[in-house]
Amino acid sequence: MSTTILGEANARRLSGPQPPDPATKVSPKRISASLVSSNLVLAIIGVLFAIPLLWMVLASVDSNAKWYISWPHFTLANFGTSLQNGRGFSLGISVELAVIATLVATIAGTLAAYAFSRRHLPWKGPLLLMVLFLSGVPINIIIIPIYQIFSQFGWLTVAPTGVFLGVTALPFEIWIIKNFIDSVPGELEEAARIEGARTPMILWRLVLPLSAPGIGAAAIFGFINAWGAFLVPLVLISDSTHQPGSVQLYGFISAAAINYGDIAAFSVLYSLPVLALYLIMNRAFRGGFVLSGAIKG
Protein backbone atom coordinates (compact mmCIF):
# COMPACT_ATOMS: atom_id res chain seq x y z
CA MET A 1 0.00 0.00 0.00
CA SER A 2 2.79 2.41 0.89
CA THR A 3 4.43 1.98 -2.52
CA THR A 4 1.14 2.85 -4.15
CA ILE A 5 0.88 6.08 -2.21
CA LEU A 6 4.49 6.92 -3.03
CA GLY A 7 3.91 6.15 -6.67
CA GLU A 8 0.95 8.40 -6.74
CA ALA A 9 2.76 11.18 -4.98
CA ASN A 10 5.38 10.98 -7.70
CA ALA A 11 2.74 10.98 -10.37
CA ARG A 12 1.20 14.06 -8.83
CA ARG A 13 4.49 15.88 -8.78
CA LEU A 14 5.11 14.95 -12.38
CA SER A 15 1.78 15.70 -13.96
CA GLY A 16 -0.19 17.98 -11.72
CA PRO A 17 -3.39 17.12 -9.84
CA GLN A 18 -4.58 13.54 -10.18
CA PRO A 19 -7.71 11.76 -9.06
CA PRO A 20 -7.03 9.59 -6.00
CA ASP A 21 -5.92 6.04 -6.55
CA PRO A 22 -8.65 3.49 -5.89
CA ALA A 23 -6.32 1.39 -3.76
CA THR A 24 -5.58 4.13 -1.24
CA LYS A 25 -7.55 4.47 1.95
CA VAL A 26 -10.11 7.17 2.48
CA SER A 27 -8.87 9.92 4.71
CA PRO A 28 -10.47 13.29 5.40
CA LYS A 29 -7.75 15.16 3.50
CA ARG A 30 -8.26 13.32 0.20
CA ILE A 31 -12.01 13.74 -0.25
CA SER A 32 -12.80 14.50 -3.86
CA ALA A 33 -15.84 14.57 -6.09
CA SER A 34 -15.11 11.10 -7.39
CA LEU A 35 -14.83 9.66 -3.87
CA VAL A 36 -18.06 11.29 -2.77
CA SER A 37 -19.91 9.97 -5.80
CA SER A 38 -18.48 6.46 -5.25
CA ASN A 39 -19.74 6.47 -1.69
CA LEU A 40 -23.07 7.84 -2.78
CA VAL A 41 -23.59 5.22 -5.49
CA LEU A 42 -22.64 2.37 -3.16
CA ALA A 43 -24.98 3.79 -0.51
CA ILE A 44 -27.87 3.82 -3.00
CA ILE A 45 -27.16 0.27 -4.16
CA GLY A 46 -26.81 -0.87 -0.55
CA VAL A 47 -30.11 0.69 0.52
CA LEU A 48 -31.97 -0.74 -2.49
CA PHE A 49 -30.55 -4.18 -1.77
CA ALA A 50 -31.43 -3.91 1.91
CA ILE A 51 -35.09 -2.81 1.48
CA PRO A 52 -36.61 -6.32 1.15
CA LEU A 53 -34.45 -7.64 4.00
CA LEU A 54 -35.36 -4.68 6.18
CA TRP A 55 -39.06 -5.46 5.73
CA MET A 56 -38.53 -9.06 6.82
CA VAL A 57 -36.65 -8.08 9.99
CA LEU A 58 -38.94 -5.18 11.01
CA ALA A 59 -42.26 -6.83 10.18
CA SER A 60 -41.29 -9.99 12.07
CA VAL A 61 -41.23 -8.05 15.35
CA ASP A 62 -44.17 -5.77 14.57
CA SER A 63 -47.56 -6.46 16.10
CA ASN A 64 -49.18 -4.26 13.44
CA ALA A 65 -47.14 -5.19 10.37
CA LYS A 66 -48.12 -4.36 6.78
CA TRP A 67 -46.57 -5.15 3.39
CA TYR A 68 -44.61 -1.90 3.54
CA ILE A 69 -41.71 -1.05 5.83
CA SER A 70 -42.69 0.78 9.00
CA TRP A 71 -41.25 1.26 12.44
CA PRO A 72 -42.44 -1.76 14.48
CA HIS A 73 -44.71 -1.88 17.52
CA PHE A 74 -42.32 -4.29 19.13
CA THR A 75 -43.48 -7.83 19.90
CA LEU A 76 -42.06 -11.33 19.74
CA ALA A 77 -45.49 -12.97 19.55
CA ASN A 78 -45.26 -13.36 15.74
CA PHE A 79 -42.61 -16.02 16.10
CA GLY A 80 -44.93 -18.09 18.26
CA THR A 81 -48.09 -17.66 16.18
CA SER A 82 -46.20 -18.25 12.92
CA LEU A 83 -45.47 -21.79 14.07
CA GLN A 84 -49.13 -22.67 14.69
CA ASN A 85 -51.41 -24.66 12.36
CA GLY A 86 -48.80 -27.34 11.67
CA ARG A 87 -46.15 -24.93 10.47
CA GLY A 88 -43.77 -25.89 13.28
CA PHE A 89 -44.24 -29.49 12.16
CA SER A 90 -43.48 -28.47 8.57
CA LEU A 91 -40.05 -27.23 9.65
CA GLY A 92 -39.53 -30.72 11.08
CA ILE A 93 -40.37 -32.16 7.64
CA SER A 94 -37.86 -29.74 6.13
CA VAL A 95 -35.22 -31.10 8.51
CA GLU A 96 -36.16 -34.67 7.62
CA LEU A 97 -35.97 -34.00 3.88
CA ALA A 98 -32.68 -32.14 4.16
CA VAL A 99 -31.05 -34.74 6.42
CA ILE A 100 -32.00 -37.62 4.11
CA ALA A 101 -30.79 -35.68 1.06
CA THR A 102 -27.54 -34.74 2.78
CA LEU A 103 -26.78 -38.28 3.93
CA VAL A 104 -27.49 -39.81 0.52
CA ALA A 105 -25.48 -37.26 -1.44
CA THR A 106 -22.57 -36.99 0.98
CA ILE A 107 -22.01 -40.73 1.52
CA ALA A 108 -22.32 -41.64 -2.17
CA GLY A 109 -20.40 -38.49 -3.09
CA THR A 110 -17.47 -39.14 -0.74
CA LEU A 111 -17.02 -42.74 -1.95
CA ALA A 112 -17.15 -41.68 -5.60
CA ALA A 113 -14.91 -38.66 -5.01
CA TYR A 114 -12.30 -40.87 -3.34
CA ALA A 115 -12.31 -43.26 -6.30
CA PHE A 116 -12.03 -40.34 -8.73
CA SER A 117 -9.22 -38.76 -6.75
CA ARG A 118 -7.03 -41.76 -5.92
CA ARG A 119 -7.83 -44.70 -8.13
CA HIS A 120 -6.83 -45.71 -11.58
CA LEU A 121 -9.98 -45.59 -13.67
CA PRO A 122 -10.54 -45.97 -17.39
CA TRP A 123 -12.11 -42.86 -18.99
CA LYS A 124 -11.59 -40.88 -15.81
CA GLY A 125 -11.33 -37.56 -17.64
CA PRO A 126 -14.59 -37.88 -19.60
CA LEU A 127 -16.40 -39.24 -16.52
CA LEU A 128 -15.27 -36.26 -14.45
CA LEU A 129 -16.35 -33.88 -17.19
CA MET A 130 -19.74 -35.58 -17.18
CA VAL A 131 -20.01 -35.01 -13.42
CA LEU A 132 -19.15 -31.34 -13.91
CA PHE A 133 -21.64 -31.11 -16.74
CA LEU A 134 -24.44 -32.72 -14.73
CA SER A 135 -23.84 -30.37 -11.81
CA GLY A 136 -24.88 -27.53 -14.13
CA VAL A 137 -28.11 -29.13 -15.38
CA PRO A 138 -31.13 -27.90 -13.38
CA ILE A 139 -32.64 -31.37 -13.23
CA ASN A 140 -35.69 -30.13 -11.28
CA ILE A 141 -37.06 -29.03 -14.63
CA ILE A 142 -37.83 -32.65 -15.54
CA ILE A 143 -40.07 -33.05 -12.52
CA ILE A 144 -42.81 -34.61 -14.70
CA PRO A 145 -41.08 -37.94 -15.50
CA ILE A 146 -39.83 -38.14 -11.90
CA TYR A 147 -43.39 -37.66 -10.68
CA GLN A 148 -44.59 -40.37 -13.07
CA ILE A 149 -41.90 -42.84 -11.92
CA PHE A 150 -42.48 -42.08 -8.24
CA SER A 151 -46.25 -42.43 -8.52
CA GLN A 152 -45.90 -45.82 -10.26
CA PHE A 153 -43.76 -47.11 -7.39
CA GLY A 154 -45.94 -45.48 -4.71
CA TRP A 155 -43.04 -43.28 -3.60
CA LEU A 156 -44.94 -39.99 -3.21
CA THR A 157 -43.78 -39.59 0.42
CA VAL A 158 -41.11 -37.70 2.34
CA ALA A 159 -38.22 -40.20 2.30
CA PRO A 160 -38.02 -40.87 -1.48
CA THR A 161 -38.39 -37.13 -2.10
CA GLY A 162 -35.39 -36.59 0.19
CA VAL A 163 -33.40 -39.18 -1.79
CA PHE A 164 -34.29 -37.42 -5.06
CA LEU A 165 -33.23 -34.05 -3.65
CA GLY A 166 -29.96 -35.67 -2.58
CA VAL A 167 -29.32 -36.91 -6.11
CA THR A 168 -29.89 -33.41 -7.53
CA ALA A 169 -26.96 -32.23 -5.36
CA LEU A 170 -24.80 -35.32 -5.93
CA PRO A 171 -22.73 -34.30 -9.01
CA PHE A 172 -21.70 -31.01 -7.45
CA GLU A 173 -20.88 -32.71 -4.13
CA ILE A 174 -18.65 -35.23 -5.91
CA TRP A 175 -16.91 -32.32 -7.56
CA ILE A 176 -16.30 -30.38 -4.30
CA ILE A 177 -15.13 -33.42 -2.32
CA LYS A 178 -12.89 -34.69 -5.13
CA ASN A 179 -11.09 -31.37 -5.30
CA PHE A 180 -10.61 -31.49 -1.55
CA ILE A 181 -9.29 -35.07 -1.40
CA ASP A 182 -6.85 -34.12 -4.18
CA SER A 183 -5.27 -31.65 -1.78
CA VAL A 184 -4.65 -34.29 0.92
CA PRO A 185 -1.07 -35.56 0.46
CA GLY A 186 -1.03 -39.08 -1.02
CA GLU A 187 2.06 -39.97 1.02
CA LEU A 188 -0.05 -40.20 4.18
CA GLU A 189 -2.13 -42.88 2.54
CA GLU A 190 0.91 -44.77 1.27
CA ALA A 191 2.27 -44.82 4.81
CA ALA A 192 -1.01 -46.26 6.07
CA ARG A 193 -0.99 -48.92 3.33
CA ILE A 194 2.53 -49.97 4.29
CA GLU A 195 1.31 -50.30 7.88
CA GLY A 196 -1.29 -52.72 6.55
CA ALA A 197 -4.45 -50.58 6.48
CA ARG A 198 -7.09 -51.54 3.92
CA THR A 199 -9.43 -49.29 1.97
CA PRO A 200 -12.35 -49.04 4.46
CA MET A 201 -9.89 -48.32 7.27
CA ILE A 202 -8.11 -45.70 5.19
CA LEU A 203 -11.40 -44.06 4.23
CA TRP A 204 -12.67 -43.96 7.79
CA ARG A 205 -9.50 -43.11 9.70
CA LEU A 206 -7.56 -41.05 7.18
CA VAL A 207 -9.56 -39.59 4.28
CA LEU A 208 -12.64 -38.73 6.30
CA PRO A 209 -10.89 -36.77 9.08
CA LEU A 210 -8.37 -35.09 6.76
CA SER A 211 -10.91 -33.91 4.22
CA ALA A 212 -13.60 -33.16 6.80
CA PRO A 213 -13.82 -29.44 5.88
CA GLY A 214 -14.45 -30.28 2.22
CA ILE A 215 -16.92 -33.04 2.99
CA GLY A 216 -18.61 -30.72 5.49
CA ALA A 217 -18.89 -27.96 2.92
CA ALA A 218 -20.36 -30.40 0.41
CA ALA A 219 -22.80 -31.70 3.02
CA ILE A 220 -23.90 -28.15 3.81
CA PHE A 221 -24.45 -27.50 0.12
CA GLY A 222 -26.63 -30.63 -0.04
CA PHE A 223 -28.57 -29.57 3.04
CA ILE A 224 -29.22 -26.03 1.77
CA ASN A 225 -30.22 -27.38 -1.65
CA ALA A 226 -32.86 -29.66 -0.13
CA TRP A 227 -34.00 -27.13 2.48
CA GLY A 228 -34.73 -24.53 -0.19
CA ALA A 229 -36.54 -26.90 -2.56
CA PHE A 230 -40.11 -25.86 -3.25
CA LEU A 231 -41.60 -27.39 -6.41
CA VAL A 232 -40.05 -30.83 -5.87
CA PRO A 233 -41.69 -31.49 -2.48
CA LEU A 234 -44.89 -29.77 -3.64
CA VAL A 235 -45.20 -32.27 -6.50
CA LEU A 236 -43.59 -35.37 -5.01
CA ILE A 237 -45.17 -35.38 -1.52
CA SER A 238 -48.82 -36.29 -1.97
CA ASP A 239 -49.85 -35.80 1.69
CA SER A 240 -50.57 -32.09 2.15
CA THR A 241 -50.01 -32.34 5.93
CA HIS A 242 -46.42 -33.51 5.32
CA GLN A 243 -45.24 -30.57 3.24
CA PRO A 244 -41.98 -28.84 4.27
CA GLY A 245 -41.54 -25.26 5.48
CA SER A 246 -40.97 -23.88 1.97
CA VAL A 247 -44.43 -24.98 0.81
CA GLN A 248 -46.02 -23.74 4.05
CA LEU A 249 -44.38 -20.35 3.61
CA TYR A 250 -45.92 -20.11 0.15
CA GLY A 251 -49.27 -21.14 1.63
CA PHE A 252 -49.23 -17.90 3.65
CA ILE A 253 -49.59 -15.58 0.66
CA SER A 254 -52.21 -17.71 -1.05
CA ALA A 255 -54.32 -17.79 2.12
CA ALA A 256 -57.51 -15.72 2.39
CA ALA A 257 -56.52 -13.74 5.48
CA ILE A 258 -52.94 -12.54 5.36
CA ASN A 259 -51.09 -11.95 8.62
CA TYR A 260 -48.04 -9.96 7.56
CA GLY A 261 -46.15 -10.26 10.84
CA ASP A 262 -46.51 -14.05 10.81
CA ILE A 263 -45.21 -14.26 7.24
CA ALA A 264 -42.14 -12.22 8.10
CA ALA A 265 -41.51 -14.16 11.32
CA PHE A 266 -41.85 -17.51 9.55
CA SER A 267 -39.55 -16.28 6.75
CA VAL A 268 -36.94 -15.46 9.39
CA LEU A 269 -37.30 -18.82 11.15
CA TYR A 270 -37.21 -20.70 7.85
CA SER A 271 -34.19 -18.79 6.50
CA LEU A 272 -31.99 -18.60 9.61
CA PRO A 273 -30.67 -22.21 9.43
CA VAL A 274 -29.51 -21.57 5.85
CA LEU A 275 -27.70 -18.36 6.79
CA ALA A 276 -26.05 -20.09 9.76
CA LEU A 277 -24.89 -23.00 7.61
CA TYR A 278 -23.37 -20.66 5.01
CA LEU A 279 -21.35 -18.98 7.76
CA ILE A 280 -20.12 -22.37 9.02
CA MET A 281 -19.21 -23.42 5.46
CA ASN A 282 -17.27 -20.20 5.02
CA ARG A 283 -15.21 -20.89 8.14
CA ALA A 284 -14.59 -24.50 7.12
CA PHE A 285 -13.19 -23.38 3.78
CA ARG A 286 -10.97 -20.78 5.34
CA GLY A 287 -9.40 -23.20 7.82
CA GLY A 288 -9.17 -25.94 5.19
CA PHE A 289 -5.69 -26.15 3.84
CA VAL A 290 -3.46 -26.78 6.84
CA LEU A 291 -2.11 -30.15 5.69
CA SER A 292 0.99 -28.93 3.95
CA GLY A 293 3.03 -29.61 7.08
CA ALA A 294 1.88 -33.23 7.41
CA ILE A 295 4.68 -34.62 5.25
CA LYS A 296 8.36 -33.88 5.23
CA GLY A 297 9.93 -32.52 2.34
Partner: protein
Protein backbone atom coordinates in the same frame (compact mmCIF):
# COMPACT_ATOMS: atom_id res chain seq x y z
CA UNK B 1 -20.45 -22.39 -6.89
CA UNK B 2 -16.93 -23.44 -7.71
CA UNK B 3 -17.98 -24.84 -11.08
CA UNK B 4 -16.31 -22.02 -12.87
CA UNK B 5 -13.05 -22.01 -10.94
CA UNK B 6 -12.57 -25.75 -10.65
CA UNK B 7 -10.05 -27.37 -12.90
CA UNK B 8 -9.86 -30.77 -14.50
CA UNK B 9 -6.36 -31.88 -13.84
CA UNK B 10 -4.45 -35.06 -13.23
CA UNK B 11 -6.04 -36.15 -10.00
CA UNK B 12 -3.17 -36.15 -7.58
CA UNK B 13 -1.06 -39.13 -6.78
CA UNK B 14 -2.47 -42.48 -7.75
CA UNK B 15 -1.81 -44.67 -4.77
CA UNK B 16 -0.49 -48.10 -5.48
CA UNK B 17 -2.54 -51.15 -4.72
CA UNK B 18 -2.68 -52.05 -1.05
CA UNK B 19 -4.93 -55.06 -1.03
CA UNK B 20 -2.36 -57.01 -3.04
CA UNK B 21 -0.45 -59.90 -1.57
CA UNK B 22 2.97 -58.91 -0.35
CA UNK B 23 5.83 -59.12 -2.78
CA UNK B 24 4.12 -57.29 -5.62
CA UNK B 25 5.36 -53.96 -6.79
CA UNK B 26 3.57 -51.12 -5.09
CA UNK B 27 4.43 -48.43 -7.60
CA UNK B 28 2.51 -49.84 -10.55
CA UNK B 29 -0.80 -48.27 -11.45
CA UNK B 30 -3.39 -51.01 -11.64
CA UNK B 31 -7.12 -51.32 -11.78
CA UNK B 32 -8.59 -52.30 -8.42
CA UNK B 33 -11.81 -54.20 -7.97
CA UNK B 34 -12.87 -52.02 -5.05
CA UNK B 35 -12.98 -48.99 -7.39
CA UNK B 36 -16.30 -49.85 -9.09
CA UNK B 37 -17.66 -50.71 -5.65
CA UNK B 38 -16.81 -47.20 -4.44
CA UNK B 39 -18.45 -45.67 -7.50
CA UNK B 40 -21.52 -47.91 -7.41
CA UNK B 41 -23.87 -45.89 -5.12
CA UNK B 42 -23.27 -42.62 -6.96
CA UNK B 43 -23.50 -44.37 -10.33
CA UNK B 44 -26.85 -45.98 -9.50
CA UNK B 45 -28.33 -42.73 -8.19
CA UNK B 46 -27.08 -40.59 -11.06
CA UNK B 47 -28.06 -43.14 -13.70
CA UNK B 48 -31.49 -43.61 -12.09
CA UNK B 49 -32.37 -39.93 -11.91
CA UNK B 50 -30.37 -38.19 -14.61
CA UNK B 51 -30.10 -40.82 -17.37
CA UNK B 52 -33.31 -42.76 -16.81
CA UNK B 53 -35.20 -39.59 -15.89
CA UNK B 54 -34.16 -37.77 -19.05
CA UNK B 55 -34.72 -40.83 -21.26
CA UNK B 56 -38.17 -41.36 -19.75
CA UNK B 57 -38.93 -37.67 -20.17
CA UNK B 58 -38.04 -37.87 -23.87
CA UNK B 59 -40.30 -40.91 -24.22
CA UNK B 60 -43.21 -39.22 -22.41
CA UNK B 61 -42.91 -36.25 -24.75
CA UNK B 62 -44.10 -38.53 -27.58
CA UNK B 63 -47.17 -39.83 -25.73
CA UNK B 64 -50.56 -38.47 -24.67
CA UNK B 65 -50.08 -39.02 -20.93
CA UNK B 66 -52.23 -36.79 -18.72
CA UNK B 67 -52.39 -36.21 -14.98
CA UNK B 68 -56.09 -37.14 -14.67
CA UNK B 69 -58.70 -38.89 -16.79
CA UNK B 70 -58.50 -42.05 -18.94
CA UNK B 71 -55.11 -41.24 -20.50
CA UNK B 72 -53.53 -41.03 -17.05
CA UNK B 73 -53.32 -44.84 -17.13
CA UNK B 74 -53.81 -45.91 -20.75
CA UNK B 75 -51.58 -43.48 -22.53
CA UNK B 76 -50.21 -44.22 -25.99
CA UNK B 77 -47.43 -43.28 -28.32
CA UNK B 78 -48.66 -40.37 -30.39
CA UNK B 79 -45.53 -39.71 -32.41
CA UNK B 80 -44.98 -36.14 -33.45
CA UNK B 81 -48.37 -34.84 -32.20
CA UNK B 82 -46.87 -32.95 -29.24
CA UNK B 83 -44.02 -31.51 -31.28
CA UNK B 84 -46.50 -30.39 -33.90
CA UNK B 85 -48.58 -28.78 -31.20
CA UNK B 86 -45.54 -27.05 -29.74
CA UNK B 87 -44.49 -25.63 -33.09
CA UNK B 88 -47.96 -24.11 -33.49
CA UNK B 89 -48.24 -22.89 -29.91
CA UNK B 90 -47.88 -19.09 -29.67
CA UNK B 91 -47.37 -19.34 -25.90
CA UNK B 92 -44.33 -21.57 -26.54
CA UNK B 93 -42.67 -18.92 -28.71
CA UNK B 94 -43.62 -16.23 -26.24
CA UNK B 95 -42.14 -18.30 -23.42
CA UNK B 96 -38.85 -18.73 -25.32
CA UNK B 97 -38.64 -14.96 -25.68
CA UNK B 98 -39.55 -14.36 -22.02
CA UNK B 99 -36.97 -16.96 -20.93
CA UNK B 100 -34.32 -15.10 -22.93
CA UNK B 101 -35.38 -11.79 -21.33
CA UNK B 102 -35.46 -13.23 -17.80
CA UNK B 103 -32.09 -14.99 -18.14
CA UNK B 104 -30.53 -12.13 -20.10
CA UNK B 105 -31.55 -9.53 -17.53
CA UNK B 106 -30.28 -11.81 -14.74
CA UNK B 107 -26.90 -12.14 -16.46
CA UNK B 108 -26.54 -8.45 -17.33
CA UNK B 109 -27.94 -7.15 -14.03
CA UNK B 110 -26.10 -9.69 -11.88
CA UNK B 111 -22.81 -8.95 -13.63
CA UNK B 112 -23.31 -5.19 -13.52
CA UNK B 113 -24.29 -4.91 -9.85
CA UNK B 114 -21.74 -7.50 -8.70
CA UNK B 115 -18.95 -5.70 -10.54
CA UNK B 116 -20.16 -2.29 -9.39
CA UNK B 117 -20.24 -3.29 -5.72
CA UNK B 118 -16.87 -5.07 -5.96
CA UNK B 119 -15.22 -2.05 -7.59
CA UNK B 120 -16.85 0.57 -5.37
CA UNK B 121 -15.99 -1.41 -2.24
CA UNK B 122 -12.33 -0.71 -2.86
CA UNK B 123 -12.65 3.00 -2.26
CA UNK B 124 -15.60 3.61 0.03
CA UNK B 125 -16.39 3.90 3.72
CA UNK B 126 -16.37 0.79 5.88
CA UNK B 127 -20.02 1.15 6.90
CA UNK B 128 -21.23 1.36 3.31
CA UNK B 129 -19.14 -1.66 2.32
CA UNK B 130 -20.72 -3.56 5.15
CA UNK B 131 -24.24 -2.48 4.14
CA UNK B 132 -23.99 -3.24 0.41
CA UNK B 133 -21.80 -6.33 0.71
CA UNK B 134 -23.79 -7.75 3.59
CA UNK B 135 -27.17 -7.18 1.92
CA UNK B 136 -25.98 -8.74 -1.36
CA UNK B 137 -24.53 -11.76 0.45
CA UNK B 138 -27.65 -12.38 2.53
CA UNK B 139 -29.77 -12.02 -0.62
CA UNK B 140 -27.60 -14.64 -2.30
CA UNK B 141 -27.84 -17.04 0.64
CA UNK B 142 -31.61 -16.85 1.21
CA UNK B 143 -33.72 -19.79 0.01
CA UNK B 144 -35.75 -19.13 -3.19
CA UNK B 145 -39.11 -19.11 -1.42
CA UNK B 146 -37.97 -16.39 0.98
CA UNK B 147 -36.65 -14.34 -1.95
CA UNK B 148 -40.01 -14.64 -3.70
CA UNK B 149 -41.94 -13.72 -0.54
CA UNK B 150 -39.77 -10.67 0.18
CA UNK B 151 -40.12 -9.32 -3.37
CA UNK B 152 -43.81 -10.10 -3.43
CA UNK B 153 -44.16 -8.10 -0.21
CA UNK B 154 -42.11 -5.21 -1.59
CA UNK B 155 -43.87 -4.93 -4.96
CA UNK B 156 -47.48 -5.94 -4.29
CA UNK B 157 -50.24 -3.41 -3.64
CA UNK B 158 -49.59 -1.80 -0.25
CA UNK B 159 -45.93 -2.82 -0.39
CA UNK B 160 -42.88 -0.62 0.08
CA UNK B 161 -42.47 0.25 -3.61
CA UNK B 162 -46.16 1.08 -4.01
CA UNK B 163 -45.98 3.34 -0.95
CA UNK B 164 -42.79 4.98 -2.27
CA UNK B 165 -44.53 5.90 -5.52
CA UNK B 166 -47.14 7.73 -3.46
CA UNK B 167 -50.06 5.52 -4.43
CA UNK B 168 -50.24 2.63 -2.00
CA UNK B 169 -53.09 1.01 -3.97
CA UNK B 170 -50.85 0.70 -7.04
CA UNK B 171 -49.78 -2.80 -8.10
CA UNK B 172 -46.17 -2.46 -9.26
CA UNK B 173 -45.83 -6.25 -9.48
CA UNK B 174 -48.76 -6.66 -11.85
CA UNK B 175 -48.01 -3.48 -13.80
CA UNK B 176 -44.50 -4.73 -14.62
CA UNK B 177 -44.45 -8.43 -13.68
CA UNK B 178 -41.41 -9.42 -15.72
CA UNK B 179 -39.46 -6.45 -14.39
CA UNK B 180 -40.05 -7.27 -10.73
CA UNK B 181 -39.48 -11.02 -11.06
CA UNK B 182 -36.27 -10.25 -12.98
CA UNK B 183 -35.17 -7.82 -10.27
CA UNK B 184 -35.80 -10.48 -7.63
CA UNK B 185 -33.65 -12.87 -9.66
CA UNK B 186 -30.85 -10.30 -10.09
CA UNK B 187 -31.04 -9.41 -6.42
CA UNK B 188 -30.52 -13.04 -5.44
CA UNK B 189 -27.50 -13.54 -7.75
CA UNK B 190 -25.49 -10.37 -7.20
CA UNK B 191 -23.77 -11.67 -4.05
CA UNK B 192 -22.15 -14.46 -6.06
CA UNK B 193 -20.78 -12.17 -8.79
CA UNK B 194 -19.63 -9.71 -6.13
CA UNK B 195 -17.50 -12.49 -4.60
CA UNK B 196 -16.15 -13.61 -7.99
CA UNK B 197 -15.22 -10.07 -9.06
CA UNK B 198 -13.86 -9.17 -5.62
CA UNK B 199 -11.44 -12.11 -5.80
CA UNK B 200 -10.50 -11.31 -9.42
CA UNK B 201 -9.83 -7.65 -8.58
CA UNK B 202 -7.53 -8.65 -5.74
CA UNK B 203 -5.53 -10.77 -8.20
CA UNK B 204 -4.81 -7.83 -10.49
CA UNK B 205 -1.35 -6.54 -9.55
CA UNK B 206 -1.45 -3.00 -8.15
CA UNK B 207 1.62 -1.93 -10.13
CA UNK B 208 -0.34 -2.15 -13.40
CA UNK B 209 -2.79 0.43 -12.13
CA UNK B 210 0.09 2.48 -10.80
CA UNK B 211 1.92 2.40 -14.11
CA UNK B 212 -1.20 3.51 -15.95
CA UNK B 213 -1.76 6.36 -13.53
CA UNK B 214 1.90 7.43 -13.95
CA UNK B 215 1.22 7.59 -17.65
CA UNK B 216 -1.59 9.98 -16.85
CA UNK B 217 -4.63 7.74 -17.30
CA UNK B 218 -7.67 8.84 -15.28
CA UNK B 219 -9.79 6.42 -13.20
CA UNK B 220 -12.35 5.88 -15.98
CA UNK B 221 -9.65 5.22 -18.56
CA UNK B 222 -7.83 2.85 -16.20
CA UNK B 223 -11.04 0.95 -15.50
CA UNK B 224 -12.11 0.50 -19.13
CA UNK B 225 -8.68 -0.03 -20.71
CA UNK B 226 -6.99 -1.99 -17.95
CA UNK B 227 -9.24 -3.51 -15.28
CA UNK B 228 -12.12 -4.56 -17.52
CA UNK B 229 -9.99 -6.47 -20.09
CA UNK B 230 -8.20 -8.25 -17.24
CA UNK B 231 -11.58 -9.25 -15.79
CA UNK B 232 -12.79 -10.77 -19.05
CA UNK B 233 -12.32 -14.44 -18.04
CA UNK B 234 -14.22 -13.78 -14.79
CA UNK B 235 -17.01 -12.06 -16.70
CA UNK B 236 -17.37 -15.11 -18.97
CA UNK B 237 -17.42 -17.51 -16.02
CA UNK B 238 -19.92 -15.45 -14.08
CA UNK B 239 -22.16 -15.00 -17.15
CA UNK B 240 -22.35 -18.77 -17.67
CA UNK B 241 -23.02 -19.36 -13.95
CA UNK B 242 -25.71 -16.66 -13.90
CA UNK B 243 -27.42 -18.24 -16.91
CA UNK B 244 -27.64 -21.64 -15.27
CA UNK B 245 -28.69 -20.19 -11.91
CA UNK B 246 -31.36 -17.96 -13.51
CA UNK B 247 -32.87 -21.01 -15.23
CA UNK B 248 -32.83 -22.85 -11.90
CA UNK B 249 -34.47 -19.83 -10.24
CA UNK B 250 -37.78 -20.36 -12.05
CA UNK B 251 -39.46 -21.17 -8.71
CA UNK B 252 -39.24 -17.43 -7.93
CA UNK B 253 -41.48 -16.63 -10.90
CA UNK B 254 -43.87 -19.44 -10.12
CA UNK B 255 -44.18 -18.18 -6.54
CA UNK B 256 -44.56 -14.50 -7.38
CA UNK B 257 -46.86 -14.56 -10.42
CA UNK B 258 -47.47 -18.22 -11.52
CA UNK B 259 -46.48 -17.08 -15.00
CA UNK B 260 -49.22 -14.47 -15.18
CA UNK B 261 -50.85 -12.05 -15.59
CA UNK B 262 -51.85 -13.09 -19.15
CA UNK B 263 -48.67 -15.17 -19.56
CA UNK B 264 -46.53 -12.05 -19.05
CA UNK B 265 -43.96 -14.03 -17.01
CA UNK B 266 -44.53 -17.47 -18.55
CA UNK B 267 -40.90 -18.53 -18.99
CA UNK B 268 -40.35 -22.02 -20.37
CA UNK B 269 -39.80 -23.98 -17.11
CA UNK B 270 -42.90 -22.35 -15.62
CA UNK B 271 -44.90 -23.12 -18.78
CA UNK B 272 -43.75 -26.74 -18.62
CA UNK B 273 -44.87 -26.95 -15.01
CA UNK B 274 -48.18 -25.24 -15.74
CA UNK B 275 -49.00 -27.52 -18.69
CA UNK B 276 -48.11 -30.60 -16.63
CA UNK B 277 -49.70 -29.92 -13.27
CA UNK B 278 -52.01 -26.97 -13.98
CA UNK B 279 -53.61 -28.14 -17.23
CA UNK B 280 -52.95 -31.89 -16.60
CA UNK B 281 -51.04 -32.28 -19.90
CA UNK B 282 -48.13 -34.24 -18.44
CA UNK B 283 -46.87 -35.34 -21.86
CA UNK B 284 -46.83 -31.85 -23.36
CA UNK B 285 -45.27 -30.49 -20.17
CA UNK B 286 -42.57 -33.17 -20.39
CA UNK B 287 -41.79 -32.13 -23.96
CA UNK B 288 -41.45 -28.48 -22.93
CA UNK B 289 -39.18 -29.61 -20.08
CA UNK B 290 -37.08 -31.52 -22.62
CA UNK B 291 -36.58 -28.38 -24.68
CA UNK B 292 -35.44 -26.64 -21.48
CA UNK B 293 -33.04 -29.47 -20.62
CA UNK B 294 -31.65 -29.38 -24.15
CA UNK B 295 -31.00 -25.64 -23.86
CA UNK B 296 -29.32 -25.94 -20.46
CA UNK B 297 -27.29 -28.92 -21.70
CA UNK B 298 -25.85 -26.71 -24.43
CA UNK B 299 -24.95 -24.19 -21.75
CA UNK B 300 -23.41 -26.96 -19.65
CA UNK B 301 -21.18 -27.85 -22.60
CA UNK B 302 -20.17 -24.21 -22.82
CA UNK B 303 -19.18 -24.23 -19.13
CA UNK B 304 -17.18 -27.44 -19.49
CA UNK B 305 -15.46 -26.09 -22.60
CA UNK B 306 -14.63 -22.82 -20.86
CA UNK B 307 -13.22 -24.66 -17.83
CA UNK B 308 -11.20 -27.17 -19.83
CA UNK B 309 -9.92 -24.48 -22.18
CA UNK B 310 -8.73 -22.33 -19.32
CA UNK B 311 -6.96 -25.26 -17.61
CA UNK B 312 -5.17 -26.14 -20.84
CA UNK B 313 -4.07 -22.56 -21.35
CA UNK B 314 -2.84 -22.42 -17.76
CA UNK B 315 -0.84 -25.61 -18.21
CA UNK B 316 0.67 -24.27 -21.39
CA UNK B 317 1.62 -21.08 -19.64
CA UNK B 318 3.34 -23.04 -16.88
CA UNK B 319 5.14 -25.41 -19.26
Amino acid sequence: MTIGTASVGPSGAIVAQGDAPSGRRLDKVRFQWSTPLLLLPAAILIAGVFLYGVAYSIYLGFTNLSLLGPTAQDYQWTGMANIDRMLHDPVFYKSLWLTALFVGSGVVGGTFFGLAIAVLMRRTLMGLRFLAGGAAMIAFMLPPVTIAILWYAASVSGGTFAVLTGNSAAQPLFAAPLLFTSIANMWSLTGLTMLLFGAALRNIPADLDEAASLEGAGPARRFFSLTLPLLKPTIVTSALLLTILSLANFAIIWLMTQGGPQDATMILPVYSYQQGFGFNNLAYGALLGNVMILLSALLGFAIVRATVGRTRRKRKAIA
